[in-house]
Amino acid sequence: MKYIFITGPARSGQTTIVNKLNTHDNIHVFDEVPPCLPWDWDNHKRTDEFLDQIDNILKNHGDVQGKEIAGMAGLYYLKAIPNLIKKYKEIDFHILKRSLSDVLNGYMKKVNNGEDRHDIITLSQNFLVLKILLRGIGK
């Protein structure tokens, strides 16, 4: 089994690419499934627990049985790259990059579509980027 991880800031085309990959019978890539890894990954107490959860999904989940390539996609895998490289021999990381202006436009469209309008209030009160980022990718 070969493993691939796809990551990149939200609004970078991740879901589109995952959907294309998953049209192939021998591939399954999970798109934004838990555990959502913390940004302060380096100092987090649950690092080993998160790695075990990822390992369990990649090896035991029904969707990857019989596949040649299993993968995970999520904006939060970036900081886990050193740990995951140590854990798996056959692994590739693909980091998606879209222009900053396109990413910004993507966010603005989401916020402007009405259902996300309240996020600007959240931003004003807490300035917590996580909530906005996760909403930005429709999760």
Partner: protein, 60 residues
């Protein structure tokens, strides 16, 4: 995800844009660092991957 302080003097929309810019730059700075350090890390232009069947490069 990172937390960013609100910049006084900017309205919410501009603060939102500034936060996204900071996050984007921080993200890609680290991504570049990892790409330089590890052979099995690669940064892709996502628009390129979406065109035609270029996404197949991810599984070569």
């Amino acid at each position: 995800m990172p937390h960013y302080d609100k910049i006084e003097g900017l309205d919410d929309w501009d603060n939102y844009r500034e936060a996204i810019k900071k996050y984007y730059n921080e993200y890609h700075d680290l991504a570049k660092e990892y790409e330089n350090e590890y052979n099995n890390v690669k940064i892709w232009d996502s628009e390129y991957l979406i065109e035609n069947n270029n996404y197949l490069n991810l599984i070569k």
